[in-house]
C-alpha cells in the first residue's frame, strides 16, 4: 500500500513538474542536435582527410620506387567537357614549375602528359586519349611498339614485330624512345593479342592499371625534360 501511495505521489509530482522539464528537455534536445550536426560535419571532414592521406601515402610509395625523379603532387579539379576527349585539369601550373610535356604518373603507373599550362592550372592528356601516342615495350620480351589511346578507354600496342610471341598478362612499360617519357614506367598489361599471318605487324590490347575515371591526385615528374625531335624530322626528305 505504501508503495502504491508513493508511486501515485511520484506520478502526481512528475505531472506537476512536467512543463518545466519539457522546456529543459526541448532546450537540451536542440543543444544535442546541434552537437550531433557538428560532430557529423567533423566526421565527414576527417573521412575526407583520411582518404586524402591514403592517396598521398600511395603516391609517396610510388615516388619512392623511382627516387631519381622529382615529383609535384597535383589534384584533379576538372575533366574535359567533351566526352570524346580524355583530358583532365590539374590544380598546378607554371607558378609551381609545371611545363608542357612533363609526364604524369600515379601509384599504379603512367597517367599521361601535360599539354597546356597556365599560371595556376594545367591540362593533362590521359594515355587513353585517341590522340595520345607513346613508345612502349613489353617488359618480358623487350619488343617495342607504339601505344595509342582508344575512345573505349583501352590502349592498343601497334607495330609489334610478328617474330615475337606476346602472351596475355605480360606487362607493358614505356620504352623511353622518342624522348617523350622516361623509360620503364609501368603502363598496363596485355589482355588480348591480334596476330594474322598475312599482316606485317601484330597488335595487342593493353588494359591500363589505373582507373582514369576515378583519378583524384597525381604526381607530375618535374625534372624530366621531354626531347623535341620535331626539328630533326623536318630535315628528312
Amino acid at each position: 500500500m505504501q508503495r502504491s501511495i508513493a508511486t501515485s505521489f511520484y506520478n502526481f509530482r512528475d505531472f506537476l513538474s512536467a512543463p518545466r522539464n519539457l522546456q529543459e528537455l526541448i532546450q537540451r534536445n536542440s543543444q544535442l542536435e546541434e552537437r550531433v550536426a557538428q560532430l557529423e560535419a567533423e566526421v565527414v571532414t576527417l573521412r575526407e582527410q583520411a582518404s586524402e592521406v591514403d592517396a598521398l601515402r600511395a603516391l609517396l610509395g610510388a615516388a619512392r620506387q623511382l627516387p631519381e625523379n622529382r615529383y609535384l603532387s597535383a589534384t584533379v579539379i576538372g575533366r574535359d567537357t567533351s566526352p570524346f576527349l580524355q583530358y583532365l585539369i590539374l590544380d598546378q601550373g607554371s607558378d609551381s614549375g609545371v611545363r608542357r610535356g612533363m609526364p604524369v604518373v600515379n601509384e599504379k603507373g603512367l597517367v599521361g602528359r601535360i599539354t597546356e599550362v597556365s599560371a595556376t592550372a594545367s591540362k593533362l592528356q590521359l594515355i587513353t586519349d585517341p590522340d595520345s601516342v607513346i613508345n612502349a615495350r613489353i617488359q618480358e620480351s623487350r619488343s617495342e611498339g607504339i601505344l595509342v589511346g582508344r575512345p573505349t578507354g583501352d590502349l592498343e600496342l601497334i607495330y609489334l614485330s610478328q617474330d615475337i610471341t606476346v602472351n596475355v598478362g605480360e606487362i607493358v612499360v614505356t620504352s623511353g624512345l622518342g624522348g617523350g617519357f622516361p623509360p620503364e614506367i609501368l603502363i598496363g598489361r596485355v589482355v588480348s593479342v591480334h596476330r594474322r599471318d598475312y599482316e606485317l605487324y601484330q597488335t595487342a590490347i593493353i588494359e591500363p592499371r589505373s582507373d582514369f575515371s576515378r583519378l583524384e591526385m597525381v604526381l607530375i615528374i618535374t625534372n624530366f625534360e621531354p626531347v623535341l625531335i620535331d626539328p630533326l624530322l623536318e630535315n628528312i626528305p
Binding site: 567537357t81 567533351s82 566526352p83 576527349l85 585517341p130 590522340d131
Partner: protein, 167 residues
C-alpha cells in the same frame, strides 16, 4: 539582355560541367548542360540562340583539350537548325522540348565527330554512338524540361527588367 544573362550563366554552367556533370557517367556519356542551355535558349529566343551557341562553345573549349572552336561550330550548327524550327512549332510542350534535346544532342555530337575527324582524330563510330552519344542524348532528354522551365523563368525576369528600363 544577351550578355548580362549569357556570360555569367554559361561561365557557371561550364564550371559545373567540367567539375560535376562530367564525373556522373551513364556508360561513357554524361549530361551536357551547356548544350541544353543553348538548345532551350534557341527555342525561347531564336535570334539570340546562335550567340549563346558561340559563347557556350568557347566556354566549353576552354576546359577541353580539343582544337579550339570545334564545340562552338557544333553548337552553332545545332542552334541554327533549332532556330529554323521556331516558326513551325506552335507550342513548346514538354514533348517538343524533349524531342529538341534528343535530336539536338545527336546532331551536335555528329558535328563534333566530323570536325574531330577533320583534325585527324578519328573516333570509332560503333563505340561512340551506343556508349557516348545515345546515353548523353538520353540524359539531356531527361533534364530538358527542368532546364527549359528554369531558362523560361530567367527569360521572363530579363524581359520584365528590359521593359522597366525602357519606361
Amino acid at each position: 539582355m544577351i550578355w548580362w544573362i549569357a556570360v555569367p550563366l554559361l561561365a557557371v554552367v561550364s564550371l559545373l560541367q567540367t567539375t560535376v556533370f562530367r564525373q556522373i557517367l551513364l556508360l561513357d556519356g554524361s549530361l551536357d548542360l551547356l548544350l541544353l542551355a543553348v538548345l532551350c535558349w534557341s527555342l525561347l529566343r531564336p535570334e539570340e540562340g546562335m550567340i549563346w551557341a558561340v559563347l557556350a562553345g568557347c566556354f566549353s573549349d576552354i576546359f577541353s583539350g580539343g582544337p579550339f572552336g570545334i564545340t562552338s561550330i557544333a553548337y552553332l550548327l545545332t542552334s541554327f537548325c533549332i532556330s529554323q524550327l521556331h516558326g513551325r512549332l506552335r507550342t513548346h510542350s514538354p514533348i517538343v522540348v524533349m524531342a529538341i534535346a534528343l535530336f539536338g544532342t545527336i546532331l551536335s555530337h555528329l558535328a563534333v565527330i566530323v570536325l574531330l575527324a577533320l583534325f585527324g582524330r578519328i573516333l570509332e563510330f560503333e563505340y561512340v554512338l551506343p556508349y557516348v552519344t545515345l546515353p548523353t542524348a538520353f540524359l539531356n532528354t531527361l533534364c530538358a524540361v527542368p532546364v527549359y522551365l528554369l531558362l523560361h523563368r530567367l527569360h521572363g525576369i530579363g524581359a520584365s527588367i528590359l521593359v522597366e528600363d525602357k519606361e
